[in-house]
Amino acid sequence: MDWWRSFFRQESTHSRLLGVAFLTAVTLAITIVLPPVANGDLARGAAVAIVILGLSWLIGWSGQISLGNSAFMAVGAYTAGIWARHHTTTPLILTLVLAMVFGGLAGLIIAIPSTRLRGPYLAGLTLAFAAAVTPIAQNFTSITGGEGGIFMNSLVTPHWFGQLFHGTYASIDANSQWLADLSVVIAGISFFFMANLFHSRSGRAMRLVRDNDVAAELMGVNLSRARSSAFMVAAAYAGVGGALYALLQASVTPETFPLTLSITLLTLMVLGGIGTLSGAVIGGIIYSFSPDLVARVNSLTGVNPTSNLGANMQGIIFGALLILTMLFVPRGIASIKTPIQKLLRTRRPRPKLPDAAEVI
C-alpha cells in the first residue's frame, strides 16, 4: 500500500500533478451529466474555490487575518472588464494572466501598511479596503464605467466543442458545459501550483513565520518580505478567481464584490477547512450549491421560501454553521476523518510536524 499512501501524501511534484489531474478529470466527467443550470453554478463555484485557496494560504499558512479579498477579486474582475472593452477578442489565458498580475500588484500595495499589523488591526485595515471597493468603482467612472459597470461579451463556445452536442438545445448545453469545464481546468491548474507551494521550502518558512516569527528571523527569513509575498499570492489568486467570475457573469459592477462577499469567503474557507486544498474545494462546492441546500432545508422544515424567513434562510444557516464550526470543528469539514482516510493512515510513528490546521 506504500505507493497508494505516498500518492495521497503528495510527496513529489509528479504525484501532485497526477493527483490534481485525476481530480480535475473526475470533475470534468461530472460536468457532462449535470444539467446546464447546475453547470453554471459549478463554474462559479470553481472561481470562488480559487479565491478561497488564496485566502487559505494567507490566513492559514502565514497567519495574517484578511477580510479584504473581495477587493482583490474586484481588481482582477475590473482588469478583465477594462481589457475586454478595448480588445474584444483576446485569448482567455491572457486576460487571466493580466488579472493575476494586477491582483498581485494590488496585494503588494495593500501589504505595505498591512504586514506591520497584527490581529484585529490587520483585520480592520483589510476590512476597510474591502469596503472601499464599491465607492472607488462608483466614482472613477471613466475607468470603471461607474455605477453601470462594464458589460463584456459572454465567453464563446469553440466550434469543435459545440460539434459534440446535438438536439434543439445543443448550443445551450454546449455553452454551459464549456464554461464549467473551462473553470474546472483553470481551478485545477491553480490548485496544482498551490499544492506545490504548500510542500515547498516557502511553505515551511511561512508556517514558521506564522508560529514563531522570532525563530524565523533567526533562521534568516525576512519577515516582512514573507508576509508581503503571502499577500501577493493570495491577491493574485483572488484576481484570477474574480476575473473568471466576472467573465462567467459577462459583467462587473460596483455591486458585484461587496464587503459581504469577503465575509462569505471567510465563512466558506472556515467551513471547508482552513489551510487545505480540500477545504477550498469544499468551500467552492458549498458556494455553488448553497441555494439548493437552503431550499432543501426550507422544504424539510416546512418554511415557505417566499416568506421573509425563507428568503433569509441562507444567511441564518451560514451564520449558524460558522459559529458551530468554530466552536466544535474548528478545522472545518476537511478535517473530519472519513473511514477511507483512517485506512490510509500510516502505522509508523512519524515526527510531529506543525501542520497548517494548527492555526486553529
Binding site: F7, I32, Q138, F151, S154, D173, A250
Partner: protein, 451 residues
C-alpha cells in the same frame, strides 16, 4: 514509483476517455433537430426576469398585467391555436444580495434567472423583462444563445441597437426623447426661467439630462444635481436636502426630476418643508401618482404615453379593466370601479403588442420569423402614440403627451391629465427632429381580442 505512475496515469486517461464517450452518448437532448425552442404545436413558452419582491417590487403589477392579457388571450382561443405560457422569475432588480425584502434568495441574479429561463425552461423569447442594468447584464448571454429579448421595460436607449443586437427590442419612450420633449415644453411655457435638475447618477439621470440639453434647455452645472442611485437602497434625507436646498438658493423656478417614485416623494417632501415650490416636471418613470402617493405632487407635469385612466373616450381602459378582473389570481383586489394605474396599462400594452405580432406571424412560428413580424406589424395597442419597430428603430414608443397631475383634495392624486392633447415624438439622438400632432392615437381594439 513506476507502479504509482502507471496506475495514476491509467486512471486519469480512463476518466478522460470515459468522459469523451459519454459526451457523445449523452449530449443528444430532447426535441427534434431544428425545432424552435419554446414552441410546440399548441403552446408557446415565454419568460421574463422581473422584480417581484425587493426594492423595485412596486413594478410587479406590470408583468402581472401582461400575464392577465396572456391568460385572456388563452381563454379566447389562443394565438393561431397556441396558448401562451408566461414564466415570470423574480430577480429583485438584480439586487438580491442586498436583501431589502427580496424573497428570491440571496444569490439570485438577473443572469442566473435568465439562465434558468433559457437553459431549463427553454423559452422562445424573454418578453417584458425589467430594469436597465439588469437587462444589460444579460443581453450578451441571450444574444449568444439566440434568444430574442423583447419589450424590455426600461427607458434606456441601449435597446435601440439593431446593428449589434438585432433581436433586442425596447418598449417605452427613451429618457432622451422624454428629455427633449420636456425641453420643448419648458421653452414654450417657461422661457427665460432658471431650470434645475435632480436625477439619478446612472443611465436614467444622465440620458434624461442629455435629452434636455439636446432639446435646447441649458441647465447650469451647479443646478444639474444627481443623487447616488445606490442611495435608493439606504437613503438619507440629508443628501436630498442638500440638492433641493442648492436649487432653492439658486431660485430655480422649474425643476426636472429624473427619479424613481420613492425618491420623487422624498424630494417633494423636503422641498415642501423648506418652503420651496418650483414648477416640477417629473419623468414618467417616477411620476405615477399611486406610487408617489403624496398630495403635494398635484400640479406637477409629466410625460404620458398611455391614456388618462379616467378618459371615458378610450376603449382600452374598460378593456384592460375587464382583462384584469378576469385574472383573479394576479389581481385579487380589483373591482369594476377600480381606477387603473400606469403600471397596469404599461404591462397590458406590451402584452397586446406581443400577441399581435405573434398572430401576424401566422401558424409557423420561428424566432427569425417573429422578429421580422415585430418590425412589420402595425400595432393596435393602448398607447396614445404609435408603437413602431423597423430595421433601424428598436426603441418602440417614441413620445407622449405632457400631462399634469390632478389634485384630489387633501388625498394623494390618482391620475395625470393631458395638458392640451398635443402628442410629441422624437428620436434618441440630438439631431432627430421633434414632431408633434394634435391627435392622440386611439387604436380600435381588434375583434379577436375583444372577447
Amino acid at each position: 514509483m513506476n507502479r504509482l505512475r502507471r496506475s495514476a496515469t491509467l486512471l486519469s486517461v480512463s476518466a478522460l476517455a470515459l468522459g469523451g464517450i459519454t459526451t457523445g452518448l449523452l449530449s443528444s437532448s430532447a426535441g427534434a433537430a431544428g425545432s424552435t425552442p419554446g414552441v410546440t404545436a399548441n403552446s408557446i413558452t415565454i419568460g421574463a426576469s422581473v422584480p417581484l419582491s425587493g426594492i423595485a417590487a412596486s413594478y410587479a403589477p406590470v408583468s402581472a398585467a401582461a400575464n392577465a392579457v396572456f391568460k385572456w388571450v388563452n381563454a379566447h382561443g389562443g394565438v393561431n391555436g397556441r396558448t401562451i405560457k408566461y414564466i415570470r422569475l423574480d430577480d429583485c432588480y438584480d439586487l438580491a444580495s442586498y436583501g431589502l425584502g427580496c424573497t428570491a434568495g440571496a444569490s439570485v441574479t438577473t443572469l442566473s434567472q435568465n439562465q434558468v429561463l433559457v437553459a431549463q425552461d427553454h423559452v422562445f423569447a424573454t418578453v417584458g423583462s425589467l430594469g436597465t442594468a439588469a437587462e444589460e447584464s444579460v443581453e450578451s448571454y441571450l444574444k449568444q444563445n439566440g434568444v430574442p429579448q423583447l419589450f424590455v421595460n426600461s427607458g434606456s436607449k441601449a435597446w435601440d441597437n439593431p446593428s449589434q443586437y438585432p433581436d433586442l427590442f425596447g418598449y417605452q419612450t427613451s429618457y432622451n426623447a422624454e428629455g427633449k420633449i420636456f425641453a420643448h415644453f419648458i421653452k414654450t411655457h417657461f422661457a427665460g426661467k432658471t431650470v434645475g435638475f435632480i436625477g439619478q447618477n446612472d443611465d436614467f439621470g444622465a440620458n434624461g439630462l442629455l435629452g434636455l440639453t439636446d432639446g435646447g434647455v441649458t441647465v447650469a452645472s451647479a443646478n444639474a444635481l444627481t443623487y447616488n442611485a445606490a442611495d435608493a437602497i439606504t437613503g438619507s434625507t440629508s443628501d436630498i436636502q442638500a440638492d433641493v436646498a442648492t436649487l432653492a438658493q439658486d431660485n430655480a423656478q422649474v425643476v426636472v426630476l429624473d427619479s424613481v417614485p420613492g425618491f420623487t416623494t422624498g424630494i417633494l417632501e423636503v422641498a415642501h418643508a423648506l418652503g420651496y415650490s418650483p414648477t416640477w416636471i417629473i419623468s414618467s418613470v417616477g411620476a405615477d401618482p399611486t406610487s408617489v402617493n403624496y398630495a403635494g405632487e398635484a400640479g406637477a407635469y409629466t410625460l404620458d404615453y398611455f391614456p388618462s385612466v379616467t378618459d371615458t373616450g378610450d376603449p382600452w381602459i374598460p378593456w384592460v379593466r375587464k382583462v384584469l378582473l378576469a385574472d383573479k389570481a394576479d389581481f385579487p383586489k380589483i373591482t369594476a370601479s377600480s381606477i387603473l394605474t400606469g403600471n397596469e396599462l404599461y404591462g397590458a400594452g406590451f402584452a397586446v403588442a406581443f400577441v399581435e405580432a405573434l398572430k401576424a406571424e401566422g401558424k409557423n412560428v420561428t424566432r427569425a420569423g417573429f422578429v421580422a413580424a415585430m418590425k412589420s406589424t402595425t400595432y393596435a395597442d393602448p398607447a396614445i402614440t404609435p408603437l413602431k419597430y423597423s430595421a433601424s428603430a428598436h426603441q418602440g414608443l417614441t413620445g407622449g403627451v405632457i400631462a399634469k397631475i390632478a389634485a384630489n383634495g387633501s388625498k394623494a392624486p390618482v391620475e395625470a391629465i393631458p395638458v392640451n392633447g398635443t402628442v410629441f415624438s422624437t428620436g434618441n439622438s440630438a439631431s432627430s427632429p421633434l414632431k408633434s400632432t394634435t391627435t392622440l392615437t386611439i387604436s380600435p381594439i381588434p375583434a379577436w381580442l375583444k372577447g
